[in-house]
């Protein structure tokens, strides 16, 4: 016998997995658009450490000269990104799931302990519910990034009609740079997320697919109550 515990509600799993192809198309079409004015780099003065993106990279992925295609994809899939994101956020608020995600007062301190634990420096973890403090901070940050993605995107999409939004974000060119930086952060999040999920293992991954996790217990206690006293008084034995 196995004891399973509900972890992720069905709605959250749908939002999560829908986001994957939607973001993939948004990032891909974004790269087709960005190529037409690929000015960003890491470096100073004439020294460039990393160009976004190297020509070989663009050629390997067949990115050049596809601006029109990129824009038509981007401005269709943006609706799916926004609808999925807003429904997810509303669901968090109304289902009270936000209590399990938004970081609490001690989050920073606890997140540090989680990091020490993950680096095998510390043995114990602070007590947690669904997510530990580091996860709460990461997942909340990614929700914020989603909002910023929408805002910076709108600012460069309609800089005249939404002139005030464009101004708040530091002007047209800054908004474009911010939109790009958040995309890079999304990619980094994705990388860390996938690695962490691989480290966490099958049971955790299965949680996002089936909704439940199997809890390891030696004995499954059955409290005798008026309703469930077994007739033969046979205790089920755990086989996990």
């Amino acid at each position: 016998m196995k004891r399973i515990v509900r972890k992720h509600p069905l709605a959250i799993r749908w939002f999560h997995w829908l986001n994957f192809p939607i973001l993939a198309v948004m990032i891909w079409s974004g790269m087709l658009i960005y190529w037409a004015n690929d000015v960003y780099r890491i470096g100073w003065g004439n020294k460039t450490i990393l160009k976004f993106f190297p020509d070989s990279f663009n050629k390997a992925l067949n990115i050049p000269f596809r601006l029109a295609e990129g824009m038509s994809l981007h401005f269709f899939f943006m609706w799916l990104f926004v609808i999925n994101g807003l429904l997810y956020f509303l669901y968090l608020l109304f289902s009270k799931e936000w209590k399990l995600i938004f970081p609490g007062k001690k989050a920073l301190k606890e997140a540090w302990q989680v990091i020490l634990h993950d680096l095998h420096i510390k043995r114990t973890l602070p007590p947690q519910k669904k997510y530990n403090a580091a996860q709460r901070i990461a997942y909340t940050a990614v929700i914020l990034m989603g909002f910023l993605m929408l805002l910076t995107g709108l600012a460069i999409y309609k800089p005249a009609q939404l002139y005030w939004l464009c101004a708040i974000l530091g002007g047209y060119e800054w908004a474009r740079a911010e939109h790009f930086i958040i995309t890079i952060l999304f990619c980094l999040f994705f990388l860390v997320h996938v690695i962490q999920v691989m480290i966490a293992g099958w049971n955790n991954f299965r949680g996002m697919v089936t909704g439940f996790e199997v809890v390891k217990t030696k004995k499954i206690p059955v409290e005798p109550t008026a309703n469930n006293v077994p007739e033969n008084n046979i205790q089920p034995t755990a086989t996990s």
Binding site: R6, F75, Y163, V209
Partner: protein, 250 residues
Amino acid sequence: MKNKELILTSAQVRNRTLLSLVFLFSFFGICVAGWKWLQKQPKEKSALKPLRKALDANESIFLGMFNNNHLSKTYPKSLAVPRVRVNGNYGLNEDFDPATWSLQLVKSAGDTLLISLDEIKKLPKTEIVFDFKCIEGWSQVTHWGGVKFSDFVKYYGLEEQTQLQFAGFITPDEDYYVGIDMKSMMHPQTMLCYEMNDKPLPLNQGFPLRLIIPVKYGVKHLKRIGRMYFSNQRPPDFWYERGYDYFCGL
């Protein structure tokens, strides 16, 4: 699965897991099939048909929300760049003779008015320093002078024409052409432009007369206007035919 905890046999756990995995892989399969279906769709004006429909739907949404009081940000003259980027020379045929140029204003079929540059310069002059935005993603603060399109409309009595939905522009050599919705044309920052940085337009910036329309990407700022006309159907548009959005509104 209402209760928070359940006790199941290993077989039940396995079956539930398998069922969910089948759902997940079907979902990925549908995504891949949907992507392949999309790529196989016929094209309309060089864009995949469903995406073209989405662009047109976006146009009606954002044109519906279009507000003439929302202006592109303007800058002091001192911030305008001295060397203005030249991007594209479609429609700027070398054979062009400025001496014989006049604007052909098609008021209706068979009623075309010829207007010289001097006549246009007599209309009230307006200037703008704004961040010119190219569809490629770059932008540049530039300084332009000319006549507000709405003033031009008043002077030449085009009230009837501007009741139509679109204005069309075409270069003298007919190689480049754009169509623009009337709301954007009547925007107070839209102008028929004959000066750049306080000097007459250079040839490569559209001398004698070009369009400056800050609520649109640069592709719509047609250089060297030959003919202007009005229509309820979308006038032909060079980059629209090459897969871009017709609206291109900012």
